[in-house]
Point group: C2
Chain length 515, copies 2
């Protein structure tokens, strides 16, 4: 392997006329690469260098796709900065290839298992958690209080239960419950309480006078167990005389569920019982060449093993939609994808913004010039298998294979919606670095650069930056992620986020207004 200081760039696709600088801190003007290319100006780390001279209006090609057009002439070896690019319009939704290049199914991958908790509905938990659902924000303070006491006084008696979590949120009242789009937060909350890691033992805390009643959020008909015993504590019920009796009622119901959860044991489950949600946040130009392709390789391994793999983040898929509709398993799936893109286009246009609102200053500093470049790097997470299904925000995913679960790109909204979609393992790639974590499912964090992985040694679980330095291949890191998923799913290894207890709040996607 060549020295760390040797100037390096990465060209992803043979047709690309730009490449990105690998060296930490970037490279100065005059740097000569082994290929003979000489930098005409300083180019920051992860930013793009022109491999050929570009005239104004020339197409700039990365990932083999046009990411924009040059706004001015750029010499060979020049920096292709954000302001040197104009963005192309997004692909029109009415002229997309529908299932025209459906890939052949990948060869099955057999023999991979993990130790999980099998649920009555056939899903499998990677954790054994008591979740306490809430219909409305008003009860959050009381539920938080009760959870503190349950953890102190009850949980120690039930050693097979991993945790007790309150599913609190800002919805349920003070909202237009009949507005278009209100079904999204409502089904999200329902499906969160059905997450495989909660053992099929939901309990619900309601105030009483809220707009979203328990019968709407989680009707008795949802699960057989709900008709067998009470599952709702209503704080306004006349039977509760004072705060302490409310807390006692919560703790009593919680203890019944803890008893049941405590009797469960991990059993050997095929890898096909995994529901892995993929996401990226704080992305940079390395995301699309290191972490995301490695996750894409792991996604293919999971699909080959029969698992469900979800990718999401509509605004980061929009500009690559033509690649995905072509890859759909059939025309209906392609049309479902178009439907979700159209819904989001309209959602944004309704407020006079568009997908260009997505990239953050950090993305741009990290070398991502625009949403097209970000999207092409983002969809690398999806690997190469056929797109098997598409679901709307907050819907439960039941299909095996690669699924597009439509969500905003906002990290915690996406994570929350993927949990509602039945995610039992989360893989999160980051270039700029974010100390992201969720209470309901383990989060494996993958760094796009070794410098981040080294600096955040106690937050990052996998260093995909080795791909850029040549120390590892995409396949190596893909297998590392795949094996780590099985280990963490089995409870044999803890993620860094779980080690520190870094658990962000649930963030609902509510497209409707508040009142």
């Amino acid at each position: 392997m060549s020295s760390e200081n040797e100037p390096r760039y990465i060209q992803v696709h043979p047709q690309d006329n730009v490449a990105i600088i690998v060296n930490p801190g970037g490279l100065p003007a005059g740097t000569e690469f082994p290929s003979g290319l000489v930098l005409q100006e300083a180019v920051p780390e992860a930013h793009k260098v022109a491999l050929v001279a570009l005239q104004p209006g020339d197409a700039v090609i990365r990932y083999g796709s046009v990411i924009g057009y040059t706004a001015r002439a750029i010499p060979q070896g020049g920096w292709v900065a954000e302001d040197a690019l104009t963005s192309p319009p997004p692909p029109a939704l009415d002229a997309l290839p529908l299932a025209t290049e459906t890939p052949a199914a990948l060869p099955p991958l057999e023999g991979y298992t993990f130790q999980g908790y099998r649920n009555p509905d056939g899903t499998v938990g990677t954790r054994n958690i008591l979740g306490i659902s809430t219909t409305v924000q008003c009860v959050a303070g009381t539920v938080d209080y009760a959870v503190r006491r349950i953890k102190q006084e009850l949980l120690p008696k039930y050693p097979n239960v991993d945790d007790v979590i309150a599913i609190t949120h800002n919805y349920g009242c003070g909202v237009a419950i009949n507005a278009p789009g209100a079904e999204i937060p409502i089904r999200t909350l329902r499906n969160l309480s059905l997450n495989p890691n909660l053992g099929g033992a939901p309990m619900v805390v309601s105030l009483g006078c809220e707009k979203m009643q328990p019968s709407q959020m989680l009707p008795v008909s949802t699960l057989p167990v709900l008709s067998e015993e009470p599952y709702v504590v209503r704080l306004q019920d006349e039977e509760h005389y004072g705060f302490e009796e409310m807390v006692s009622a919560l703790m009593e119901m919680a203890e019944k569920r803890l008893e049941r959860l405590n009797q469960r044991k991990r059993v050997t489950c095929p890898a096909s019982d995994l529901v892995v949600g993929l996401q990226c946040g704080g992305s940079d130009a390395f995301s699309g060449v290191t972490a995301n392709p490695a996750v894409g390789f792991a996604a293919d391994l999971l699909v080959r093993a029969g698992a469900t793999v979800m990718f999401s983040e509509v605004t980061e898929v929009r500009d690559a939609v033509h690649l995905l509709t072509a890859r759909a398993a059939n025309e209906q799936v392609a049309r479902d994808l178009v439907r979700e893109m159209a819904w989001y286009d309209e959602y944004l246009a309704h407020d006079n913004v568009d997908r260009s609102a997505n990239p953050s200053p950090g993305n741009k500093k990290g070398g991502l010039a625009n949403i097209v470049e970000k999207a092409l790097g983002s969809v690398a997470k999806a690997g190469t298998s056929p797109l098997a299904a598409v679901t709307g925000p907050g819907e439960r995913v039941t299909t095996k294979g690669l699924v597009f679960a439509a969500t905003p790109a906002s990290d915690f909204i996406c994570g929350t919606l993927q949990l509602a979609a039945a995610m039992n393992m989360h893989v999160f790639t980051t270039g700029r670095g974010t100390p992201y974590g969720l209470a309901m499912a383990p989060v494996i964090k993958v760094a796009t650069r070794s410098s981040l992985a080294k600096r955040w040694f106690d937050l990052i679980d996998v260093d995909a930056g080795k791909i850029a330095t040549g120390e590892a291949t995409i396949e190596d890191i893909g297998w590392e992620i795949f094996r780590l998923i099985l280990k963490v799913a089995s409870g044999e290894q803890q993620t860094w986020a779980d080690r520190w207890g870094l658990h962000n709040e649930y963030a609902l996607f509510n497209p409707g207004p508040v009142t």
Copy 2:
């Protein structure tokens, strides 16, 4: 005083043709009142009885105002149920009386003081709290972790500091930061960190790559102290090698602020330094005859003492706007009120809903037939003084006297926006009951009914239900609330919410889309 079981109803205004039933559990058909009125059917507690026979299309009058028109004939002594009323349209905004009936200023009330913490900017805290602001949701898990350690390891060394709170939220990235309306969540977060109870010693935790940068949320120019020493910890800064160093950096900056806050002492302040936010939640038909008028009386006392009193909740004011524009101190204030109403009308109409989305099932069960009836009861909180100023959502209030601070009615969004408006005391009335609480300012909870106050003896601070039973007058309870505000503001008495540590999360009002 007459027996508890004697049938009672309350007619608020002499012109009213309906009254509400006071007796717990309601009254059966055939009940005869001392006035001679006989119930023709059972009427639930807090619901309306017709005092005269009503023909279809007749105006139903409560609070001296039309709350709707009868959809069918109702006999004298009949139940005026929700479905027997059709709602009138809201007052047109282009034909309102502007400052036509400005009341004379109320006589000054002198000599009332409290013990508070005076801040460099002239505001006064009722608490001495270290607040840790955040630019983006990504840092919330880390800040929560640090706050747990600060409370355990540092706070005990600084006994004059009341609490350490993390101002976490779901904004800062994954949002359209340039969308119309984005200034609302941004200024809300800025002004939250300037709340008088935080002692003018803000510190900010940033990730680094987020859209809302510290310089946008809290520019150095905001406060003199910000240019004197560092006030931002940026987790992505290269100086932090690993999670534990990030936490150390947070704790180090926090300790400097704890040292300074610990040197502060309560001093005697005039009642005019109070900024009292008023709100109602879980309202019923008693709200407008017991708790809200009593709070309105206390509001007048506060205004007479020179304090700032805010009321809010646009959708609950909209149908009473004509009463308030007439009461404005001058035409400009009246126009400002119209501007906020128009903004909200448009905000709701943009998503095809209107103010009728406000009342909850609990409101209706509680006897509030529609938003008109709810609004007329809600504005009773505002007392009788001239309307001195109107501010937009998240703006800081600097005017003394009665101020309309525009907010949604949603309890925690309203509370959060009132904290941003510089609230140092909160008074919250409730009929159905809600265990509401805030970490940043004390919340005094006032029950509309004695049955609730008795059942929730350890959550409700003031029982205004005694007004309905005749055990106390509006003036009695108004004075009780006023005196309790001074005591709680002085730290001499704890509210029930603070006793249990019931502190709901901040809920931002973001009219823009997420990305």
